[in-house]
Symmetry: C2
């Protein structure tokens, strides 16, 4: 994917703060954990424990809070399978899947600008 053109850059530059699309997106991707949850679910539905392990063990409360917020915003669904013990699975909605463009731009920037120690 090539870099954005001058037209898109101008659009970004002239967008007013009020109701800007960037702020709308920040209401969803409002922090590190939220963004990483979406990244993890892009590879497919996952259970709570799988997510927690993949994300480097955030506290159960932190992960629960973020998952609830994302469910409320219709970015993911939470499905309970009536097994013993019950199995709870999180998966992205279509809207959640569409965040892959944002995540991919972040992936690309991060890979092109590795952290330096100096």
């Amino acid at each position: 994917m090539e870099t954005i053109g001058s037209e898109q850059r101008d659009l970004l530059r002239t967008t007013s703060s009020e109701g800007c699309g960037v702020e709308r997106t920040l209401k969803v991707l409002d922090g590190k954990w939220t963004t990483l949850i979406v990244r993890e679910l892009l590879s497919g539905p996952k259970r709570f424990g799988d997510l927690r392990t993949a994300l480097g063990s955030p506290s159960a409360k932190t992960l629960t809070d973020r998952l609830r917020a994302l469910e409320h915003q219709r970015i993911l669904t939470r499905t309970v399978y009536a097994e013993v013990p019950p199995r709870v699975v999180y998966r992205l909605t279509e809207e959640g899947e569409s965040l892959s463009d944002v995540l991919y731009a972040m992936l690309r920037w991060g890979e092109e600008h590795p952290l330096t120690d100096d």
Copy 2:
């Protein structure tokens, strides 16, 4: 800009958590204010007061902290002009400018998924 292809999607899906580019980007764009500061500076260098007004008046401490962190990460520069009173101007570095791809993806997603009240 069209949506990402299946190849890029696969890349995103198979990237390991460890040292992922997404996490690197999140070390820079680590919150709402930081992201909005970069968005504001994409339209050109700005003074502290201009930034504060444009962002809807975050506290001076919050804005100062975020600006220092971004300066430390070489996303922006802080230039003091020896006038009376001194004029302090913040501008994006080349690395900071390159975040426009990420910001544009966020802008686009936000515009395509407006907040609904239901």
